[in-house]
Amino acid sequence: MKVAYWPGCVSRGFTPELHGSMAAVAPLLDLELVELDRACCSGAGVIAEHNQELADTLNARTFALAQQVEGAELMMNICSTCQGAQGECQERLDANTEYRDHVNQTLAAEGLSYEKGLTNKNFLWLLVEEIGLENLKKKVKRPLTNLKVGPFYGCYIVRPTDRLGIDDEHPRDQYLHWVIDALGGTVIDYAGAYKCCGFPIITMNKQNSLKQAGTHLADATDADADCLVVPCPLCHLNLDLQQPLAAKAVDRDLAMPVLHLPQLVGLALGLEPKQLGMSKHVVKPTSVIDWSSAVVGAPAPAGRAGW
């Protein structure tokens, strides 16, 4: 399957392991990624806060570039903040012809035009809806047996449900649970799975931001998770890069590895932790790496199933 691929900024900046692991996993899933290297930042909600039309025009440009990719079935991203920010702009652009024409006038100088109705999916949605869980299961070489994974959805790909197309037919707010399960892992339910990592206010109210991250990490620790998995690099920044400070903010000892979604998929598909950039994490994913080299496909020892 060929997709117009929007990696976002942070996956090529402070979380390079995300971009690298997606590139490593794609061929194993028969995914051809055509990178939108002329597109720009989605604005992460901040440009929309500054000037709505500006955010809508910048993202309409990205959508128009995606629509120019020959043979691509849809646009895919690996950043839920981009999914949310772009989805908000697309909702306005698709809702009103007059407004779309107005935005397209600005794009015309570059010979671009956005046509209503682009499909833009986060890698998580694509895994479930396009590749399919049964297909994914068949590709698993090293099931995540006994690995206890806490899903961390964050905000932008679960809310608001109407805009994100979450309904009975597409319960996208449960997909991380399904993927962990399909890869053979154990899903850990904990209080923070759908809460905010706090990253958007890190420069405005650092203490509150770190308290949010620290609370969720502590909840996952108390629920006995081995690691968390995130579909958003900004969540990763607050949960992994800032984890030492988050631990101080909630006065806890924390050592919770946080994996990007393509890393978790890659491990189960047989890639090595190093190929997936797992040495680049601030919190060393020791428990995950030990698992991946020590208990490959081993049956669950008696008394240790679940938690």
Binding site: R38, A95, M204, S279
Partner: protein, 353 residues
């Protein structure tokens, strides 16, 4: 008829006993409301269940509760939908708890006065009229009143306050309902104190820049008020029209971010932090940069970032991106499309069909 298990959180502070959960079986049609189920339990099984309600038609805003972990009106939630909501939903069990972020008075009744109403009062929720006050009515342009219509739909149920994730870690945060109420008057052309209202909310360390964009309030609101969108509009007017530089770095962060993308096309993280505090050499930035040094060193050591990557960000179409900034930011007025007011063409065509 269908059978549902209503699992209620019971708590009466006067007894000195800890909260507990109690299950009741109810037999009602799937389209009946969660409130009807609670009232049936109260009438037929246990009269001591505490619930506040009045209109039963999603108008009075009295029966806000948490249903399977999400805030909403009990009278406005069908039993079948409630039983299907949430990861652990089994199509039969409905967990009903009191709203969050507010103290519990008894069972499902929370103290709205202690939190919600205090915050509403904090934003001066009345018109501070421009002088001279006309002898008869004010004449206000239609589009200005349409602009504040969305915030006027609020029924003060407190669902957004209940699920506000920022308030969970900072109970002093002004919060979604009060912020939406603030926009009601900030957007009203008859009000004389737009600047003062915004300055107050921007300067407050628990004010409009404490919101994390988590969308929980938008999801919780039964009336489509979208409090988070109103907070973004408050920020837009404060920073864009009044150039209010707050001590929380809210406005500086927004400007630093926008400039960063204009300059680089992609987010250049290494510049964003110092710029958000006024630039690398600004006295305000120095302590922040020193505080973030261990994080940066850790990142460099782990190979997360390299000096080259941090300092050089190439973009293949810098001129095209800059041109869009120039065109849109060069307009005399910001162009905003509010779908709450304009609706969508698809809805219109469905209505016609």
């Amino acid at each position: 008829m269908a059978e549902y298990t209503l699992k209620l959180r019971r708590y009466d502070p006067h007894t000195g006993e800890a909260p507990y959960y109690e299950e009741f079986q109810v037999d009602l049609e799937p389209h009946r409301s969660v409130l009807e189920a609670i009232l049936q339990v109260k009438a037929q099984q246990d009269g001591s269940v505490g619930i506040r309600c009045s209109c039963r038609a999603a108008i009075c805003g009295s029966c806000g509760v948490r249903i399977n972990g999400r805030a909403g009106l009990a009278c406005h939630t069908h039993l079948d939908k409630a039983a299907k909501t949430g990861v652990n939903a089994d199509g039969r069990t409905i967990l009903v708890e009191p709203m969050g972020n507010m103290p519990v008075i008894k069972d499902l009744i929370v103290d709205m006065d202690a939190v919600h109403w205090k915050k509403i009062q904090r934003v001066t929720p009345w018109l501070l009229a421009k002088e001279p006050v006309p002898e008869r009515e004010y004449v206000v342009p239609h589009e200005n009143m349409v602009d504040v219509t969305q915030t006027m739909a609020c029924i003060q149920c407190g669902a957004c306050v209940s699920d506000c994730l920022s308030m969970e870690v900072d109970p002093l945060f002004v919060g979604p309902a009060a912020s939406a109420k603030a926009y009601r008057f900030v957007g009203d052309p008859r009000d004389a104190e737009q600047f003062e209202r915004l300055k107050d909310l921007a300067e407050d360390p628990h004010g409009i820049y404490d919101c994390t964009h988590c969308f929980n309030c938008i999801e919780a609101c039964p009336k489509g008020v979208a409090p988070m969108s109103q907070i973004m509009r408050l920020r837009r007017v404060a920073s864009g029209d009044h150039h209010i530089e707050d001590r929380n770095n809210g406005s500086r962060h927004e400007h630093a971010f926008v400039k960063n993308i204009r300059r680089n096309g992609l987010l250049h993280e290494a510049d964003l932090v110092p710029d958000s505090y006024g630039g690398k050499f600004h006295p305000r930035a120095v302590p922040e940069l020193i505080a973030s040094l261990p994080i940066v060193i850790n990142g460099l050591r782990r190979g997360k970032m390299t000096p080259k990557k941090a300092l050089l960000h190439e973009h293949k179409a810098p001129k095209e991106v800059k041109r869009i900034f120039d065109v849109v930011e060069g307009r005399d007025q910001r162009y905003e499309l509010n779908l709450y007011i304009s609706g969508t063409e698809d809805d219109e065509s469905e209505a016609q069909a």
